[in-house]
Subunit: 146 residues, 2 copies
């Protein structure tokens, strides 16, 4: 990395290493910093990445709502970000986080990856393998995604 | 899951739960089954998913080459798949794998997420934090991606 001189845009170098897709988004994996459990994947635009770095809390871009999504803004289940990594071709971020409240998924489960593929039957089948820890209605007070 | 009756297409139910993007692709995270280390993210089309399930080895779809990419086909660094999970909205897969050869990244590193964001300087900076374990030229015998 070169050292930015006076007048160099604050966010230049490091942000330029990210390869956003044609929607201006990059996927970010949230992994529990303690257990290593992969909790969820969401998307970030440049603004979300910058705010995440600045605040130390995960900020995503909600594709369904078309705006920044400060994780936990309604549920209180914020994600404290300890480490951010970038993959070799610069198009995926990996965040090591602490999930406040212990629930990353809007379904009230610890993680979004709660369905496992069961190969023991005649056909493969998705089986829900993680318990609902909290009623989503109690998390949000109303029905919505994440 | 309903039980498929006679004549039901073999791959019907479980594959229909996957939400492929407008390119017909779904991202798949490969996570080391022992250590929990997130090694890489690549893409699968329906055929890649089916072959992965059938063979127990990770098969991706190479966007750059426009064809199925049987991980390890050139390097020998195949991925044995122990578990497949799907997230709540059905658009990301999570694979628990054993990485034969211990190298998932085409750069010769254990994992593709070898750059970490260093926040100690005046500006954030990506720093390479993982060693190259094997010369990529020795892995492939020639230069190419993954």
């Amino acid at each position: 990395m070169t050292t930015p001189g006076p007048g160099t845009p604050a966010s230049g170098d490091w942000l330029a290493a990210l390869r956003f897709d044609d929607q201006g988004l990059i996927p970010a994996i949230a992994q529990d910093a303690q257990s290593g459990t992969v909790l969820m994947v969401a998307w970030m635009n440049a603004e979300a990445v910058q705010e995440t770095v600045r605040t130390g809390r995960a900020v995503y871009f909600s594709r369904s709502r078309g705006r920044l999504w400060r994780k936990g803004e309604e549920s209180g289940h914020v994600q404290q970000v300890h480490d951010i990594r970038l993959d070799c071709d610069g198009d995926v971020l990996l965040l090591k986080i602490t999930q406040i409240g212990g629930i990353a998924c809007h379904t009230g489960r610890e993680r979004c990856f709660f369905r496992g593929l069961d190969l023991n039957g005649d056909q493969p089948a998705w089986v829900e393998q993680d318990p609902v820890l909290k009623d989503p209605a109690a998390i949000y007070g109303h029905s919505h995604g994440h």
